[in-house]
Subunit: 345 residues, 2 copies
């Protein structure tokens, strides 16, 4: 019988349910060899004498996903003219940190689906998800130590602390329909954008580029990440279930107060606010409530306006790349920004 | 109103329920000034704009406990003649890592009590415990990066990965009454002893001592940690509830297959093995089962013999200090070994 690790297949091709992925495909093609090396290293470094670790980690990693974060590290390093191999290990660290946060997220949200498959906690239990997340997180730091750059360690340890802080902040805004747009943005910046920013920034660090380029890539990643999360929150109300790879309406059912909802609350009547309070704050949800919520978002144009907010951050991300000269990777990164705000999943 | 952080009181004195703490008190007195600085730094560095983080972390840290791990780092540094201040920050990192694992442990075990108080997950919810654990863990790495020693980062990132691996391994042995003594020892070494070893070892690293002393302190910590955990597992069946600060019989109720039980299973009749299988593997527990389990442990002398096993590791720990000359801290560390195998809580 093959070992659990050998049985883990990490698909480089996106599964067929993905559409409109031309931008992702172009960037992925530019760093395809590097990404193959990352995938190999990921399999190798999630190995453990405790069989459940590669089984559980492999389940999540094999499920695919866009792998945007490690691709960003690889692309940023290439854009900065980096010729070595260190970016492979660091991109793997970024994916391990991301995977660890996904495992813990699913426990916190008590999710049953992730990327169109049963979530790890649904299959292996919350206990294992917590602990394997801890393992992947620790393993990421071990690998950074092997790399030896104290700058990279500083960037990623700080990002990890900010992510955890953002997740706790999100927990305190959950079920609170008085959450402000500013508080929402702070959660998004911390829980999502900070790792995008760090993933891009370490591409410049590993290439030994001046701090202006490091800062440009950080700005690119941060704003791309904010745009990405806002669109994610829009899609939770609008996506085609099959494309999304998770259940539409999850955020609503969990009482998450996201941008489309915040705008609808601000623009709504007293009766509408009572509806949001009942469904989100008091978790009293009945048949038809999700459809009514979707209707309110449409009626107040908050999905369209949330997307405009996302476009704002996308513009900042695009401009941040201005100081880099012409480069196929630069064009592909700009396309990724467009993809992020145009995607349907 | 004072901020949540200011309201957090971290007692330096042990609470009155502790007895037989002379050995701990002597060591604590030798590093009292350092430990006061550690406590101050802990309060300072668990600060966050997200109020729930210092509230939850403060709850656990204020609850006390023996603080053995940071004390070991401070003591090891002093034993190695270290005169600087870096050990303060590193001892705080060790306590943050330990606190993070406790928070995640309580979620995994679904505990309701910790150190005689309601556990953090019982008060704040599992979600918050997972995320604040992640925060403390990340914060520990940020602080190590500030310290700047790649050796310390290597030791503690490796220890963290081993701890997580050990916790997953424990999960797979739980409810499996065929667990071998060897598998039990591997769990104990990974989940408990590795951090004791790392805590002691970095005292030598920070002092820039030769690798022989680093290795001696690692050996001391590792074997002290194994002895400590074996005794912990004995006390779960024998302790005076009030002194223990947790519920007697927790391990039994959770189906944990610890050393006293493993020995009783090996020495027991078929009928007794059926009893252990029903209660631990199948989680079918009835009134009187805990008392019967305790009776079986006594009848087969497995509590006494488990303590003898612990004594074996205690001896190795004591001998490891042999290469250090006379020093009040050395004597206090030897006393701690004695305390560990003689304690009633």
């Amino acid at each position: 019988m093959p070992s659990p690790v050998m049985a883990t297949i990490i698909p480089l091709e996106q599964p067929p349910r993905r559409r409109k992925t031309a931008a992702l495909d172009t960037l992925a093609a530019l760093v395809a060899d590097d990404m193959a090396a990352v995938n190999q290293l990921i399999i190798q470094r999630m190995e453990s004498r405790v069989a459940m670790i590669p089984q559980l980690a492999g389940h999540l990693i094999a499920a695919g996903g866009k792998r945007m974060r490690p691709v960003l590290t690889l692309a940023a390093a290439r854009l900065c003219g980096y010729q070595g191999q260190r970016h492979i290990k660091l991109a793997s660290c970024v994916e391990f940190i991301h995977t660890a946060t996904l495992l813990h997220d699913d426990v916190v949200d008590d999710s049953t689906m992730r990327r169109g498959s049963p979530s790890a906690n649904a299959l292996f239990g919350n206990e294992a998800s917590v602990l394997v997340g801890d393992f992947l997180f620790s393993r990421a730091f071990e690998m950074m130590v092997e790399d030896g750059s104290i700058d990279v360690l500083r960037i990623l340890s700080h990002a990890s602390a900010v992510i955890a802080e953002g997740e706790v902040l999100q927990l305190t805004t959950q079920g609170d329909s008085t959450t402000s747009e500013q508080a929402y943005l702070e959660v998004v910046r911390a829980k999502t954008a900070e790792l995008f920013a760090a993933a891009c920034r370490i591409g410049a660090v590993v290439a030994g580029r001046p701090s202006s380029e490091e800062e440009a890539l950080r700005t690119f990643g941060l704003n791309l990440g904010i745009a990405f999360q806002i669109v994610d929150d829009i899609l939770d109300y609008t996506a085609d279930q099959e494309n999304l790879g998770k259940t539409v309406g999850d955020d609503f059912r969990e009482g998450k107060v996201t941008l489309p909802v915040i705008l609808a609350i601000h623009r709504g009547s007293e009766a509408e606010r009572a509806f949001w309070k009942r469904t989100l704050d008091d978790s009293e949800q009945r048949d038809g409530d999700l459809a009514h919520a979707q209707d309110l978002l449409r009626r107040h144009n908050t999905l369209r306006d949330a997307l405009e907010r996302a476009q704002h951050y996308a513009c900042i991300a695009r401009d941040a790349l201005g100081l880099f000269g012409e480069h196929p990777v630069k064009q592909a990164l700009l396309d990724i920004v467009n993809f992020t705000v145009e995607r349907e999943f």
